[in-house]
Symmetry: C2
Subunit: 242 residues, 2 copies
């Protein structure tokens, strides 16, 4: 993904136009955003926001993947969120974040200065509404993750993680889930409350079970989606009765 390229993209052609914080905006509102937005990019591994730092910008992720994580004094780390394209960084009424935001891959953000953006919020209910909606979705996701962290086995955790990738990257048209693994084993472990060794072992098991197939370390396909769902430990059926 080329920054310079993105720099010239109009909102109307933006890949996340209909999912991001601007999703509900009409043409006039988009025109305002278009004027005050600025793309920013971060290399894989760079920290986008430090916990507690003054948030100069709020942003939408346009491309790439970022992680939200918290660290205990002794170094133990827990990821508390994963940002994929269209996800938002920043919160109404907060100047700081209580976690680090890190680029897991190269990341392109569509950013707004916080001050102007918050002023805009008061005048543009479509943005405020969408922001609240997105925050509510995050809260739901956080609670699902609490169940995963508190009660699921290592196998169930990894299955749930893979299924989440399928859900989030599966475009309604296509049907063969060919996936890119956006995180290292260590990062996945941090997300799932496991160690990297356990994650690796579970991947191996899924391979042996014929549930996934790797082409290389970062690319794989789900070869048995039913078995994957079964392995998540969640209410498996979405209403399908045979």
């Amino acid at each position: 993904m080329n920054v310079q390229l993105f720099d010239r993209v109009k909102c109307s052609e933006c890949p996340i136009r209909h999912r991001a914080v601007c999703a509900r905006c009409d043409e006039d509102e988009i025109a305002i955003l278009d004027k005050i937005k600025a793309y920013r990019t971060f290399k894989a591994g760079e920290t986008i926001v430090w916990r507690g730092d003054d948030l100069t910008h709020v942003s939408s992720v346009v491309a790439g993947i970022a992680t939200l994580s918290k660290t205990l004094d002794d170094g133990r780390m827990q990821m508390v969120g994963l940002l994929l394209p269209s996800d938002f960084i920043g919160r109404p009424g907060r100047k700081t974040l209580d976690f680090d935001v890190t680029a897991a891959s190269d990341v392109t953000l569509c950013s707004f200065e916080r001050g102007p953006f918050e002023r805009l919020l008061t005048e543009t209910p479509h943005i405020a509404q969408r922001l609240v909606e997105m925050a509510m979705d995050e809260l739901d996701a956080a609670r699902d993750w609490m169940v995963l962290l508190g009660r699921k086995t290592a196998r169930e955790k990894l299955a749930t993680f893979i299924e989440m990738l399928v859900q989030r990257s599966h475009l309604p048209g296509s049907d063969i889930p060919k996936l890119i693994l956006p995180l290292t084993r260590e990062e996945i472990a941090s997300y799932l409350g496991l160690t990297l060794e356990t994650v690796s072992r579970q991947f191996t098991q899924f391979r042996k079970d014929g549930i996934v197939e790797f082409t290389d370390r970062r690319h794989f396909t789900v070869t048995d989606h039913a078995a994957l769902l079964e392995a998540t430990g969640d209410d498996a059926d979405g209403g399908v009765i045979v």
Copy 2:
């Protein structure tokens, strides 16, 4: 807590007047709420809202304690939130909840019918703002809990739970934390991602370590608050340097 009593309480004398969803309302706005509110009570153990059920009312907890919990098909359960007085049940733009809400003790709610309340929301920014603020706080709490569930030891989990009780029930004036344990060992275990036996063992350990002292099963005092903080595993010092 007597229902009949509460039925006659004016908002202006309500114990949660300045912390609940109505916290920012002025006298005129409160007058409107006062007219459409209704108290409802639930006995300990009763379910207040079933996951997925149509939410007829939204409510603030006035007295008592309620739990939010999710259950996996095979019965494993994880609490995903604890509602204390002033906490809110219901969400802007949602007709259902994705978890069960259960009365852990006898509970008194201040309820509004969902329809009228949501209409009110659009006209009363003070309520909408406060609701968003409270949701954001919940999201923060959920993320802290993810760290607890994913990375903390049993001892750290229980210490964090007790410290949370201290924080939430410690009125700024008083200074001897004499606490009521609002949950059974099993419920605490469900909240902490542990088993009830482990919770019991850790309580015993804290007793032996002289950190807490029980008068009976539900009442105790924190006798060594510094040691309690130390045991939580969090950044212990709130800036205090000796």
